[in-house]
Symmetry: C2
Subunit: 347 residues, 2 copies
């Protein structure tokens, strides 16, 4: 059985939190939800709260445009709220600004924050500012959920259908373009939290997670939490975002790495019990939502994908732990992923 | 009239937030409260939320002990909740940890976080971890307040009595000891959020702020918000913390600088209308709370203190803006404060 603690990130989180007693008001278990769910007494709803910091992405150069940094600092948090089915109340933001930052940079940063909030129908409620060496933005978002109706990562069963809320691969396509490509034509990456899926997912889904760490990480986490496996549809490339596929194609990169990289597309990934599939698709269509079919939940706890005309089982533990290697750099990371691809070609 | 915007910190906050539309659920105005107050619909209470980051204090060496850093990262946020009269629900914490940090350091850091939560009767609800160059901790605390009953910085009137929730000066005494003194004997600085004052302050106080930025900053902010002045009691040294006074005395530093420095003691500073004073003191005594009398609110909007046998008016704008000078360093800061003291001696 695959264990949560085999993934370094899970182990770090468990280690940091092991000494903390559990709040009697906290409804979710550790790792079980994308945001924390807190019981509000004498209230028709519960509270969702999440905190997320943008720092590594700025440091590696993945995010450099101030507007984009502002946009993402809100969106990553709103995506967590979307993944638990919450309606956002707002966000508080702590900004560490370098001394030498320009007024223009700050203005664009705030514009990105503002537009991101607008897109989610929410508000900056307050914040905190410090001076520092590097630009670092932490956002903490809160939202409400009808009592007991939050979405969880746990609950999927063998035979459930797996969907995403949109075509996938954009996060890793963007990361490649930004960090490796000399081509000036900017790949468009402008994720939005999928808050509008809230009600339909509460009605039909058996588990839900956002793809902030990419598709394979999300599936791997669901596998470990639910002790099930996932088999991608044979024509899984149909689920991919077209321009992402083109970008990777033009650069002779294997398309499946768009699923494997850790920079996600911030879609929702969810499972629907087979018997609810038709009703779900019908209602989604009425709501102008377009779920993308990705595959099926299997009994055997592994993640498998048709690659080079062969059903191949992915070593998702190895893939997920690559970013925690001591000498991590984007180019070493890509090299290791390509080595894994070579092993599939030769399999 | 002294304006909020004459203080660089206020100006930065106003500039950062000017483009953000106001949430219809937000009850407080900008600068008006220590935490944001958010209306919860269909609920007997409102929500308080605050975010605060410990970074500059680590960078300058003011906080270096991991336990203390953990303790303070919770306490600064709980103090904001105390200053609005909220009952904490919990805190989420984003930690940026340097790559080379030791397991022992991390353990003590978490222990500090844990003990600080315990002291406040609250819990870590969740968090986020990143790797980075420097240790940076952001906490975001939430709490509840009986509907419409939150404490504000605005509301005090001429003649109101000023109190603090405890003896003052410890924050700046600690900062001096830590940054300037070669003496090994550690000055004890272990602030606790004054959450237990909640009910009595809701009943009697006309304004409240925490002293996270020191006494003079807090009074100056109240002055600007309420267009009143403050006159310290003639024997204001009686309000000081004994060991802080001793430390400054032993180092030939003017005692009043314990009020002026920007590293606060995290007490609550509040005003009580004169006619309520006796009832307030009686009830405080029953609750084993010991308010420290500091002075009186005056019509003339200035802050005055008996110094060198003369009533002196403090240039609080100058004092507060010292930390924002371009070439700021703790030693330059102390030097400038001592220059101001010299001008009083010669006045």
């Amino acid at each position: 059985m695959h264990q949560l603690k085999d993934i370094i990130e899970n182990k770090i989180i468990s280690n940091l939190t092991k000494s903390f007693p559990r709040s009697p008001l906290k409804l979710n278990e550790l790792h079980e939800t994308d945001a924390e769910i807190i019981q509000l007494e004498n209230s028709p709803y519960d509270l969702a709260i999440t905190i997320d910091t943008i720092s590594e992405e700025i440091k590696t150069g993945l995010y450099s445009d101030p507007y984009e940094i502002g946009w993402m600092s809100v969106m990553v948090n709103m995506s967590d709220l979307a993944a638990v089915g919450a309606s956002p109340i707002g966000i508080v933001i702590s900004q560490i600004l370098p001394q030498n930052i320009s007024d223009e940079f700050i203005e664009k940063l705030q514009q990105g924050i503002n537009d991101s909030c607008k897109k989610c129908g929410t508000f900056v409620l307050g914040g905190d500012t410090n001076l520092g060496d590097e630009l670092i933005i932490s956002g903490c978002a809160i939202g409400t959920i009808e009592k007991g109706k939050y979405l969880k990562r746990v609950g999927c069963k063998t035979g459930d259908k797996i969907y995403t809320s949109g075509n996938i691969g954009t996060g890793n396509a963007y990361a490649f373009q930004k960090l490796f490509s000399k081509n000036d034509s900017q790949f468009v990456y402008h994720p939005t939290a999928k808050l509008e899926w809230r009600n339909i997912l509460k009605k039909y889904s058996s588990s839900c997670i956002d793809t902030s760490d990419g598709i394979i990480s999300s599936l791997d986490q669901l596998m470990r939490l639910n002790n099930v496996g996932f088999k991608f549809r044979n024509d899984w490339d149909k689920a991919m975002d077209c321009s992402s596929e083109q970008l990777f194609g033009n650069n002779n990169l294997p398309i499946w790495l768009l699923l494997a990289g850790e920079h996600g597309e911030f879609e929702l990934l969810f499972t629907i019990p087979a018997e609810k599939k038709l009703d779900f698709l019908k209602e989604a269509s009425h709501l102008y939502l377009k779920p993308i079919y990705l595959g099926e939940t299997t009994e055997d706890p592994k993640i498998s994908l048709n690659l080079y005309n062969k059903e191949q089982s992915l070593d998702t533990e190895k893939i997920r732990n690559l970013t925690f290697e001591k000498d991590f750099s984007p180019s070493k990371y890509l090299k290791k992923l390509l080595e894994i691809d070579t092993s599939f070609k030769n399999a």
